[in-house]
């Protein structure tokens, strides 16, 4: 009987640790996804009256990447947390090019509005990438505003690391208290749950202050060490 109780306690403790880790991952992953969204600048095709009548439009040549016939456009899609912007590819052959502009067939979305075509992005896009529209994205990057922002962030890093360490210590304490729920110490267990939720709440709110310019993060994965080394 004692052996069974001991095993139960171990399973309970392991379950608590896994649950807290998964909760922690949930909070962090929300912010990782936010940070990893690729900033893009978008344009809508410009038209003269004559072009409008012929269902043609002009877009900047910079909309085309390596593939001379494909552009990326941004579309609003319903995600788990509301509407999110997703990049998709579309084959648009230029009819003629002149002065950095390409004359193309008119591109409309489902509502009949001109498509938001990507003119510039920090990293090369792939179909289905989550993006965020930043009207002055390119100028911010080139003017060094983002570099200054990163320098400011670097100054705050030690403080952030200390706060994170304290939060993790409190979460460990909360998890330790949660272990005692199994031995019917309800008050202690409840206190543990409250500590964990409070820590997660603070972490959630605190991570909103973390704004790393996208070009200083690796192209695909935030944990891509090679990306940081190369940068």
């Amino acid at each position: 009987m004692g052996m069974i109780k001991m095993t139960k306690k171990k399973i309970w403790n392991a379950g608590c640790v896994v649950l807290v880790l998964l909760l922690l991952c949930t909070v962090i992953s929300f912010h990782v996804e936010r940070l990893m969204r690729i900033p893009v600048e978008v344009v809508r095709g410009s038209q003269s009256e004559e072009e409008k009548a012929m269902r043609l439009a002009r877009i900047p040549l910079s909309c085309y990447g390596e593939d001379p016939s494909t552009v990326f456009y941004v579309e609003e899609q319903e995600g788990l947390f509301g509407m999110e912007l997703v990049a998709h590819t579309k084959e648009v052959w230029p009819i003629e090019t002149a002065e950095d502009m390409a004359l193309v067939p008119e591109q409309l979305d489902d509502d009949g509005l001109p498509l938001q075509i990507v003119r510039w992005s920090v990293y090369p896009l792939e179909d289905g990438d989550l993006v965020v529209v930043q009207e002055d994205g390119e100028s911010r990057m080139l003017s060094g505003v983002n570099a200054e922002q990163l320098q400011e962030l670097k100054k705050q890093l030690p403080g952030m690391a200390v706060c994170l360490f304290v939060l993790l210590a409190f979460m460990a304490l909360g998890t330790w208290n949660l272990f005692h729920l199994q031995s019917r110490a309800y008050k202690r267990g409840l206190a543990g749950a409250v500590i964990i939720l409070a820590c997660l709440g603070i972490l959630w709110a605190g991570l909103w202050t973390l704004e790393i310019p996208r070009e200083y993060l690796p192209p695909e994965y935030i944990l891509d060490v090679k990306g940081y080394v190369n940068w």
Binding site: K8, L23, T26, S29, E33, M36, E78, G79, L80, Y221
Partner: protein, 258 residues
Amino acid sequence: MDRNKGKKSLPALFLLALLFLFPVLYMLFRSVYTAGDGISFLSYYEVLLGRPEYLVRFFRSLGMCLLIAAGQTLISCLAGTAFAKYRFIGDRFWFAVFVLFMILPIQVTLLPNYILLEMLGFLNSWKALIIPAVFSPFGTVWLTFVFRAVPDGSLDAARIDGANQLQLIRYIITPAAKPAVVTLFVLTFTESWNMVEQPMIFLEREQDYPLSVFLAAVSQGDIGIQSVCGLLCLVPVTFFFLYYREELTDGLKDVLWG
């Protein structure tokens, strides 16, 4: 002699266990191995850190299933006590109705449930999944059989001591049949965790789908992410099975062999 016989059957049992474990082992293998990249933990990164949608769905499904399991256990304890310990007009008839509904396949009740939920305005919300599941007849029938074995003498003694009806259930009947009640909780949780038909019919938006249905649409073609999601799905069920192993064994034994 018997001991030797037991030892001889060990390899066969081991092979059988391996056969049952094979899908899990394969999933574990595919979660870290992709044909092109070899060993890689990118799928774990994607599910646990890269995008929150998997874990958010996991916790939403977990909450829903805990609510269903707790609700059905509570309702079944109350209804099971009524059928097992009280005599009222039509008790046998109503119990027969419960048994009848229990043996009906889920596909038969889907349409009436859909019409009823539409009338109540519960469609396209999680109420459509929770409420019919909480009032499922299986638990009531199961606990009625178990509660019948609880001696009436102990209930009479508690009544003499001043216990009311709810106290009888809380302090006498439920503790006496604890393994069966726990087994019902775990089985209900597992059933709702694996729910597929109801969300597909009662919910319109893909964003509302629980993990069990969403799993089918997870990055089709990316077997690594699918495997990690599959492993994530195993976590709560495995926890409940390991934690309540003794109660499950006793609970099933009580009902199957008395």
